[in-house]
């Protein structure tokens, strides 16, 4: 399986993603934001960081990068696209996911572990988890407060497109468990087709026990096994 890690000026989780993909047996390559052509890849990963210094709005300028035309086309062909943190912000700016990520309600940059509940264990990115499983995964962001208009939020809820929610360690949605003010404790959402996932927490930073948690591994093993199943079916 070939995975593209898109790198923008200011990305800083690109190596972590590259390593995470390699750890689960994928062949990873960096694709610079000025490049074109993602045809050879089976999945596209958009890393965290501060592309273009978060100038204007996080993700707003990265979204205009040449490679984003290819990312949009890749997603529209049904290819799996995963955006983490700044990658999620870029996907929203690009219109591949609805809504927007605005300043944390605390006005603070939050960098610590959170508990996440897996709301959907039947997606390309979460099939190796159990429904309702609680994961411990780090966050590191200043703009992770998910906002959208009422109709969009309702459609996400009704359509079962909320993939991860911030919860307490017992798995309950609560206000103290919400690190940024996101509506209904949203930590990750997918598009209607289910091939584009955006999430603020960093599964690629929870890949090795020595670094505190291995709860992020499932995102990457799920992707690999979904793709190999799809490949076998063709």
């Amino acid at each position: 399986m070939k995975v593209a890690v898109i790198t923008f000026p200011g990305s800083n989780c690109d190596y972590d993603l590259y390593k995470a993909a390699q750890q689960v047996g994928a062949e990873a390559s960096f694709v610079w934001h000025r490049e074109h052509g993602l045809e050879a890849f089976d999945a596209v990963l958009l890393p965290g960081g501060f592309s273009y210094g978060d100038y204007l709005r996080p993700g707003a300028i990265a979204r205009m990068s040449p490679v984003m035309e290819d990312v949009v086309a890749f997603a529209n062909r049904g290819g799996p696209v995963l955006g983490i943190c700044n990658g999620f912000q870029v996907l929203c700016e690009a219109g591949l996911l609805p809504g927007a990520l605005v300043r944390n309600d605390s006005l603070r940059f939050r960098s610590h572990d959170v508990w996440l509940r897996v709301e959907r264990a039947d997606t390309l990115f979460t099939s190796d988890y159990e429904q309702g499983q609680v994961l411990r995964i780090p966050i590191a962001h200043g703009d992770g407060n998910f906002e959208a208009d009422e109709a969009t939020l309702q459609a996400l809820e009704d359509g079962g497109r909320i993939v991860f929610r911030y919860v307490d360690s017992a798995g309950n949605v609560s206000e103290p468990a919400n690190p940024n003010g996101s509506w209904h404790n949203i930590a990750g959402i997918m598009n209607e087709r289910g091939n584009v996932l955006g999430m603020m927490p960093h599964p690629e930073r929870a890949m090795e026990g020595i670094l505190g948690s291995t709860d992020g591994v499932g995102v990457f093993t799920s992707l690999v096994s979904s793709l190999s199943t799809a490949g076998a079916a063709e």
Binding site: I61, A100, E147
Partner: protein, 90 residues
Amino acid sequence: MSHYRLEVRVTPRPGLLDPQGKAIHHSLNSLGWEGVHDVRVGKAIYLDMEAESEDAAVQAADAMCRKLLANPVTEDFEVSVVGALEGADS
């Protein structure tokens, strides 16, 4: 072609939580300006540009807002001409 200076005001949409505005609001109240009921923080972007006419300049800025300068999900924008500049090529 003439030169124009435009001001683009980008503000958080009404109803959307504006944490910066809230923090400033609290600060103003605690400094004694208790009559302040609400604070919203936006940004102003100034464009010096060439265009055929004032209308054309405003139209172009409007397109820029839709494409890049504002996010319609969270922000409103307003474009105004704040001056015609001496043309560099005239």
